[in-house]
């Protein structure tokens, strides 16, 4: 019967064998560089709120007001999670945009739940619909409005980017507020146009660089490029944090202007602005 010592020895042997059988795929320096980048990214993640942006990305801070207006008018809200999906044959960059849109959906769903506005979420991928279901459920649980969840729905539209656009155009039903966030491609303009038809309030976002123009042209609020990933972090920032970031931004701009101006003056006329500022 093997004892613990023998088991440990076997385990160490196994680890030793695995280490012997391994080699670095990228070489020492690229591997260290890759892991170093991961470390920097993790340090960025450790403080998830956005540091240098204080403006209202995608007009998401005004979602509660939009939902209040929708509730007054008896309207509904529509949220499309783009056309990339999560388990579809799209690039991983596209798929991650869908995942980035889920916290935005959560923010909208909480506002809709509080205001009692029915929210219709659409996607062309069943896994995305499952995630959306979870987001809606969590929103109603967080706002203690489970009894209103029946009014909201998630809908799988069918496979294909063209399908999402065609259904958006065909079913343009004038929602009070319309949102499209996630991966978009050549169908973007059609999908966004169908989504915004008759909507009193819109917010669209995609990280697809080629579709930045479509988002800018169609949406009242927009998240372009990296902003789609920034927005979920920014939603979390409290008022005083935003004010702090805004103040820091202004101080940085003022410092940069002073440095540039001081340098130009020093080069042009020998005026020592640093001396004046420091009281020398």
């Amino acid at each position: 019967m093997p004892d613990i010592g023998a088991l440990l020895a076997d385990l160490l042997d196994f680890i030793g064998e695995q280490i012997n059988a391994s080699s670095l795929r990228l070489g020492a320096i690229p591997t260290v560089a890759l892991l170093g980048i991961m470390l920097v990214l993790l340090s960025l993640i450790a403080r998830p709120t956005t540091r240098w942006v204080a403006r209202d990305l995608g007009r998401l801070a005004a979602v509660s007001r939009a939902m209040a207006l929708a509730a007054e008018s008896g309207g509904a809200a529509a949220f499309s999670l783009g056309s990339a999906g999560v388990a579809r044959a799209a690039s991983s960059f596209d798929r991650l945009q869908t995942l980035a849109a889920i916290p935005v959906l959560g923010h909208v769903a909480r506002a809709a739940a509080r205001a009692g506005v029915p929210l219709r979420v659409t996607a062309n991928d069943p896994v995305t619909i499952h995630l959306a279901d979870g987001a809606l459920e969590a929103a109603h649980r967080a706002t203690e409005t489970e009894e209103r969840q029946e009014g909201s729905s998630t809908e799988y539209l069918g496979e294909g980017r063209g399908v999402a656009a065609a259904i958006a155009l065909a079913e343009a039903g004038a929602p009070a507020a319309a949102f499209v966030d996630g991966g978009l491609a050549e169908e973007a303009l059609l999908l966004l146009n169908g989504a915004q038809e008759g909507a009193a309030w819109t917010s669209f976002g995609t990280a697809a660089a080629s579709q930045a123009g479509s988002v800018m042209l169609e949406g009242d609020g927009n998240l372009i490029g990296p902003e789609l990933y920034q927005a979920p972090s920014d939603l979390r920032a409290a008022g005083h944090e935003r004010t702090g970031v805004l103040a820091a931004n202004r101080i940085i701009v003022a410092a940069l202007v002073t440095i540039v101006l001081g340098s130009l003056l020093a080069v042009a006329g020998g005026v020592d602005l640093a001396g004046v500022l420091a009281g020398r």
């Binding site: 990214l41 993640i45 146009n193 123009g213 979920p232």
Partner: protein
């Protein structure tokens, strides 16, 4: 604690794939390959479940005369026709001539017709954009006009100069904007992916 199991699975799978990317090890490669196959299987199962849900939903709409029964009928008929073409006795599946004909004669023209509307919708969007954000939209449309002029099929010296200028515009200013956007997207994609991996919740108001 409710999320501890999914979190653990995500972290373990993510780290395993990362280590497999960095190290060459047969055991790790086998594990990573098995996981990736499992993901493909899960995606396939999800697609089947999605199709079943779609059919059930529209069947209910049709039988209970809810929403758009006509549209539901068309969808179910299309579904049935495509399934018949792919599964009739002796069919070769997706490469069967009947399936190919349905795709080439029905689906492709439908999609082409849909995308043909892009030009009209672009003009509508430009008008809407000008009412929403006059200055930014005007700059964007002016830049688009410049690019169109640069790409005009004109011959001679003028044409050559325009072609050279368009090449420069695409490589330098437009390329710079695209690179900037792509770098920003890549960095924040990595940050976002890691945040998902570590389940750092974003929206929490």
């Amino acid at each position: 604690m409710r999320r501890s199991l999914p979190t653990l699975v995500v972290v373990v799978v993510g780290l395993l794939l990362l280590v497999d990317y960095v190290l060459i090890n047969p055991t790790l490669a086998g594990l990573a390959s098995g996981l990736l196959e499992l993901i493909v299987l899960l995606a396939a199962a999800a697609a089947l479940a999605g199709a079943a849900t779609l059919v059930l939903r529209h069947w209910t709409d049709l039988t209970e005369r809810r929403r758009d029964p006509l549209g539901s009928g068309v969808l179910l008929a299309g579904f049935a026709v495509m399934l018949l073409a792919g599964f009739y006795p002796g069919s070769t599946g997706a490469s069967d001539p009947a399936v190919r004909w349905l795709v080439a004669a029905l689906l492709a023209p439908l999609l082409a017709a849909l995308f043909a509307m892009l030009f009209v919708f672009l003009l509508t969007a430009a008008r809407k954009g000008l009412t929403l954000r006059t200055r930014q939209t005007a700059v964007m449309l002016a830049a688009a006009m410049v690019v169109i002029v640069l790409l005009l099929p004109i011959g001679g010296t003028v044409g050559d100069s325009l072609a050279a200028l368009s090449g420069w515009a695409i490589a330098v200013p437009i390329g710079a904007v695209f690179r900037g956007l792509l770098i920003g997207v890549a960095v924040l994609t990595a940050v976002h992916a890691a945040r998902i991996l570590l389940t750092v919740d974003g929206a929490d108001d």
